[in-house]
């Protein structure tokens, strides 16, 4: 009997309106679960000729193995598909739906095909219904969820897209609940292309646990321990929550000013962020969290007459520095607007900051933006841009393909201002100062999860400890120092592996980072072996993670990915202000870092996985497909 895994994957074909169940077990030895399953399925089933908006494209919703169990902070899933930029993309979300999918009895949900009219999916344990969604098409994400709940019942958990996804905007997100978002990558547009407004799940089953009493004991201990760690205490009811995050973004040098600009850029242009306590007292409603998590990381805000929604974590970065705003109300409101329209807030923040730079430099005028001057920090400009991009009206149409499309449309000068990695903008993070973040951004199509390396990110909080741990893990304390290049490739390599493991298990990367300081896997691994009854060690999981990452890369290479590049601007400009003022990213050293990373992964200088790498990870049949591709490319 299979424990931990449910052993079933649900596949839905929207073209034929049919659904069936597949077996997970063959995938388990090599790809474990979660993200691993999706990457393998997409690698096997989607050739490079299939574009993101083709009906053949798959979108996989894969909860972690431990989602739906009592393991604290494990309600996470990865959504994987060929993204609008043409490459394989993963985007993660928490909330309640990952656990609900597991409780309904599925390890993975794969949606393929394309419906003729708008539909939504309703899965109640083994019953699968494809329902008409014409009446909710065009609704914002919160209203759509409410209508579905009225139709089915309050207990159903929903992931849906907003008008942005329906309009195939390539910076749209998938949202579940009030504020859990799979943002980066624009996967909302993939659901939109399939005419799939939402997926709704109700599960009343259980995840089978192999050794329940030990599992329960460890869960209990972990839960109580987590609550006592300093990182979690800060988030608790009496703690600070995210109140200090805006100041921290500036003090730690992580926040970005404008569109990675150097000229006329200073934090003084933005002004004071004001008191967090005051803002939370005035507009804060309450906190809430994901399913089965001791940390309630979301703050719900009620801005009377404007909006109501949740803001958390990096949400505070997206509409502050980049768009020259210091008013917490505007930042929260812009973020909630993005969530309601189903736009990825980070990419939308980038899009607005891109427009603001063009306006500031005189490349565009208000005539190009429907009479709205894109002045730096102008809240009217921000709200108008969000609405127009999502609804695809007026100048918003320029952004159907994100900043990449807009820059091409506007002209050469604008293209120089577009800071893009493989057609995608960067997460709001100062990659010029944080070197491992720069490396991670180029590898991950702009996504910088925890600055590429947790040591580097946390250096601002706790220098001594991070340097000591970096010395232990990577043999040099320089690995923790943001502006150093030393051992950065190794730390990014290690962090990517660890992040992939937690994506397979469903561990929340934020909680594990905040509780253990770095990504320590001992507890999740022990929970996994108690839950599944299999003796899967940390080494084996890290090995599987490398296998998955190799396959993910191979998938990208088949789709035309060559050596990774960063936009020119990041090498040519320096950090304009803050503690890393004047810090530059050296192109030469960056290339060295990249070469080092490729060799650690067993890829050649263009980032193509070598044959021996495939063999090392036992990817024989995958190599055959890859080899055919290489030969056809000549």
């Amino acid at each position: 009997m299979l424990y931990g895994w449910s052993g079933k994957m649900l596949r839905i074909d929207l073209s034929t309106m049919k659904s069936w169940v597949e077996d997970t077990e063959p995938y388990i030895p090599s790809f474990i679960g979660g993200k691993g399953l999706s990457v393998k399925i997409i690698y096997d089933e989607l050739g490079p000729e299939i574009g993101p908006f083709d009906s053949e494209n798959r979108i996989c919703f894969s909860p972690g193995i431990l989602s739906g169990t009592m393991a604290p902070a494990h309600s996470r899933m990865k959504i994987t598909s060929v993204a609008p930029n043409g490459y394989l993309q993963n985007s993660g979300t928490g909330g309640y739906i990952p656990a609900e999918i597991k409780k309904a009895g599925y390890d993975n949900v794969i949606v393929q095909g394309k419906s003729e009219k708008p539909v939504y999916l309703y899965v109640n344990n083994e019953n699968v219904e494809i329902r008409d969604a014409t009446h909710i098409w065009g609704m914002d994400t919160q209203a759509a969820q409410r209508v579905i709940k009225e139709e089915i019942g309050d207990l159903v958990k929903i992931a849906c897209i907003g008008p942005a996804g329906e309009n195939l905007v390539s910076i749209s997100c998938i949202i579940t609940g009030v504020g859990s978002v799979a943002g980066h990558g624009g996967l909302g547009a993939i659901m939109g292309a399939k005419n799939l407004k939402a997926i709704a799940f109700r599960g009343t089953g259980q995840v089978r646990i192999a050794r329940p009493s030990e599992f329960l004991k460890l869960c209990k201990e972990t839960h109580l321990w987590m609550r006592e760690t300093p990182g979690m205490k800060a988030q608790s009811r009496e703690g600070q929550g995210d109140k200090g995050l805006l100041e921290y973004s500036y003090q730690s040098g992580q926040g970005v000013l404008g569109n990675f600009e150097e000229k006329d850029a200073s934090w003084d242009n933005i002004g004071d962020f004001g008191s967090g306590d005051e803002f939370y007292a005035k507009y804060g409603s309450h906190q809430y969290g994901c399913y089965g998590c001791p940390v309630h990381h979301f703050h719900v805000f009620d801005i009377p007459g404007k909006c109501r929604g949740a803001v958390k974590c990096s949400g505070w970065y997206d509409f502050s520095g980049p768009v020259w705003v210091s008013d917490r109300k505007v930042i929260a409101q812009a973020f909630i607007l993005c969530n309601s329209y189903g736009l990825d807030s980070a990419s939308t923040g980038n899009a607005v900051s891109f427009l603001m730079e063009l306006y500031h430099r005189g490349i565009i005028s208000e005539n190009d933006t429907d009479g709205i001057p894109m002045r730096r920090g102008d809240e009217k400009a921000i709200f108008a841009a969000i609405e127009k991009i999502a609804k695809q009206e007026g100048f918003g149409k320029l952004f159907r393909d994100g900043v990449w499309g807009a820059a091409k449309e506007i002209g050469k000068e604008a293209e120089e201002c577009a800071v893009l990695v493989n057609k995608q903008t960067l997460t709001i993070f100062e990659v010029r100062a944080f070197k491992s973040a720069a490396l991670a951004a180029t590898l991950g199509d702009g996504i910088v999860r925890f600055g590429g390396s947790v040591h580097e990110l946390e250096w601002g909080w706790d220098k001594e400890r991070m340097e000591k741990e970096a010395q232990e893990c990577y043999g040099s304390k320089e690995a923790a120092i943001p502006y150093s290049y030393e051992k950065k490739a190794l730390s990014v390599w290690d962090n990517e592996n660890r992040n992939t493991v937690i994506d397979m298990l469903g561990t929340c990367f934020w909680v594990i980072q905040a509780t253990t300081g770095t990504i320590k896997l001992d507890i999740p691994v022990e929970l996994l072996s108690l839950a599944t009854g299999r003796d899967i060690g940390e080494e084996e999981l890290l090995w599987a993670a490398q296998r998955v990452l190799t396959l993910e890369r191979a998938c990208k290479v088949r789709r035309g990915r060559g050596r990774d590049r960063l936009p020119r601007r990041l090498f040519e400009t320096a950090v304009p202000d803050g503690i890393f003022k004047g810090e530059r990213l050296s192109e030469e050293k960056f290339e060295e870092m990249l070469d080092e990373y490729y060799s650690l992964r067993g890829w050649d200088e263009n980032g193509v996985p070598k044959v021996e790498t495939f063999m090392k990870f036992g990817l024989l049949s995958e190599w055959k497909i890859f080899d055919r591709h290489l030969k056809s490319e000549g």
Binding site: Q145, L155, K157, G177, V178, C219, K220, R227
Partner: protein, 169 residues
């Protein structure tokens, strides 16, 4: 001292940890994985309300039970089901005003909260103290305090700004 399960609904954030813990421990001890406490979650608002047996003094389930299977256990101040007598007619479910009495298909009998024999796991794992296992006498104290404070403020004439003690110019 007799403790009881007290729920402060305003503190619940709907993480569902209580129902997960209950399901896990119930599966282990009683073979049924249906939770005795259920957290109803409105994830669009970010809100949750846990529902569990209130262990009523004059319990309707106990009154209606045709075989007298439901009894009060004064040791833990709880309402319990004697399964030797229970015939599974589900009358208790019909009359429970909270819907706390549940039926589990796995074991084919009614199930309810038994306060984990005096050490409820859900309370231990509730991060925000929405669930408390306290002396019944203590339950009303926080609310009483709140009301008393309000009245005190009014009586002290907070609105006019004067407070007890020396008046400082």
């Amino acid at each position: 001292m007799v403790n009881t399960l007290v729920i402060d609904y305003s503190r619940c954030h709907g993480c569902g940890e209580c129902e997960l813990a209950c399901a896990t421990i119930s599966k282990m001890n009683k073979g049924s994985s249906r939770p005795r406490i259920m957290s109803f979650i409105w994830d669009v608002e970010g809100w949750g309300i846990p529902i569990a047996c209130q262990h009523c003094q004059d319990a309707p389930c106990r009154a209606v039970c045709p075989t007298g299977a439901i009894y009060r256990d004064e040791e833990f101040n709880r309402v319990m089901v004697n399964y030797k007598r229970c015939i599974g007619c589900r009358m208790c479910m019909a009359v429970c005003p909270f819907g706390a009495m549940d039926f589990d298909r796995e074991v084919n009998r009614v199930i309810k909260c038994d306060l984990c024999d005096g050490d409820p796991l859900c309370v231990k794992l509730c991060s925000y103290e929405a669930l408390q296992y306290i002396d019944v006498k203590e339950q009303s104290i926080p609310k009483k305090t709140e009301v008393a404070e309000k009245i005190r403020e009014i009586l002290l004439g907070r609105k006019t700004g004067s407070k007890a003690g020396l008046i400082q110019e």
